[in-house]
């Protein structure tokens, strides 16, 4: 009987130390998320400006450039998956990887070969476990990405895009990441980086208005050449920032749930322990009383 009580006490102790860890993780995530959100907000105007400029060039010039024309000669597509470095973020990494697998299935159905890139230890270990070859991997800074990493990724992906078929060139570049919408909503999404998919922010010419003639200096081609690496880099960096904010938000939410679950468990075990103690006392009393009764009767 006393053993039962001890078991419960042990479980309570274990759960409350876990609870402390969950609480700490939650607080850490909460303290970092403000900064991550701010970084997303600060980087957005830059990404938007570049996207607008690119769209303007695409819409107002007729140059033949890899950016605006689709390539179909290699039959390969590069996919960059951005996940977390650590767990304890609920289904965050699992969602991204599931989205990536869906994209993989779709591309393979189209007869494309996948060139896989992965960022974040979770995605890297997922592909390593399945013995899929990674063309590039980056780990270690999923919750605080820096520009250097983004530049490296951009360079690796862009090299693939420019390479010939024999050197492992690709037709398309996709990023699978998570978009930070709000503290409670994060959406895993697939973004096609190249060839350019979205033409957003270009103003529609109103009826009767003459389409503005853009002046490109030095020339449309050179402007595109200068913009393209920046575009890729800023899109990747933007995605990384979104993913970092999403990761922290998921972690905060997951840890919050874990903490309250731990509290529930502690409450239940406390009740069971109290019950066991009470049962023990009752039994002892009845033993004493019946012992006394037996003595008095004799």
């Amino acid at each position: 009987m006393a053993g039962q009580q001890r078991v419960y006490r042990q479980k309570i102790r274990a759960t409350s130390s876990l609870k402390k860890i969950f609480r700490a993780m939650e607080l850490i995530a909460a303290s970092r998320i403000g900064k991550a959100r701010l970084r997303v907000e600060h980087a957005t105007p830059y990404t938007r400006a570049i996207t607008r400029a690119i769209s303007a060039v695409a819409a107002h010039s007729s140059v033949d450039h890899p950016l605006t024309t689709a390539r179909t000669d290699t039959g390969r597509a590069a996919v960059l998956v951005i996940s977390a470095d650590r767990g304890m973020a609920g289904a965050y990494s699992a969602n991204v990887i599931r989205e990536a697998e869906r994209l993989r299935g779709r591309l393979q159905a189209d007869g494309k070969e996948i060139v896989q890139f992965a960022a974040g230890r979770r995605a890297v270990s997922y592909y390593a476990f399945r013995r899929r070859e990674l063309a590039g991997q980056w780990t270690g800074a999923s919750d605080a990405p820096d520009r250097e990493t983004a530049r490296e990724m951009a360079r690796a992906l862009f090299e693939r895009f420019q390479a010939s078929k024999e050197d492992g060139g690709v037709d398309e570049i996709y990023i699978v990441g998570t978009r930070f919408i709000s503290m409670v909503t994060q959406q895993s999404q697939v973004l096609r980086l190249l060839p350019l998919e979205i033409v957003e922010g270009v103003e529609e010419t109103e009826e009767g208005e003459i389409e503005p003639l853009y002046d490109f200096e030095p020339s449309a081609e050179q402007v595109l050449d200068a913009l393209l690496p920046r575009y890729i880099e800023s899109r990747i960096f933007g995605s990384l920032l979104h993913c970092a904010a999403s990761e922290l938000a998921s972690r905060q939410r997951a840890m919050n749930t874990a903490t309250s679950n731990a509290e529930d468990i502690i409450r239940n075990y406390t009740r069971l322990a109290n019950q066991a103690r009470q049962a023990e006392i009752t039994q002892e009393i009845s033993e004493i009383v019946s012992g006394a009764d037996a003595l008095a009767a004799s």
Binding site: R39, H42, A43, P45, Y46, A49, I50, R52, A53, A56, V57, H60, R147, E203, P212, L213, Y214, D215, F216, E217, P218, Q222, V223, A226, L227, R230, S234, F237
Partner: protein
């Protein structure tokens, strides 16, 4: 004359300057370009130099840049600079 220019100077990690101004001078790869209202739409690559904003609502501003580009459309100027070191913001006396 038409209204003032809407100017945004953005760096990769933040917005450096945003507001209205009369004039913007930027160092393009082919020489300095001065933008006033009513300029034709232009998209130009910048070289290292100084971007100058003149006649801003809260004073003038100057930014030393290593490169970037400027786009002008419908009196909206967007200067994208990369990487940048902000010099002393000339003309901005007791704004803080």
């Amino acid at each position: 004359m038409a209204g003032p220019l809407t100017v945004d100077v953005v760096a990769p990690d933040r917005v450096l300057w945003s507001g209205t101004a009369e004039r913007l001078i930027a160092p393009t790869v082919e020489g300095e370009i001065g933008l006033l209202t009513g300029h034709e739409p232009v998209l130009s690559v910048l070289r290292a130099g100084t971007v100058r904003v003149r006649g801003g609502a809260d004073g003038d501003a100057e930014f030393a840049i290593d490169g970037g580009f400027v786009s002008f459309d419908h009196d909206i100027v967007t200067v994208v600079v990369e990487p940048v070191v902000a010099t002393g913001e000339a003309g901005e006396t007791a704004a803080h």
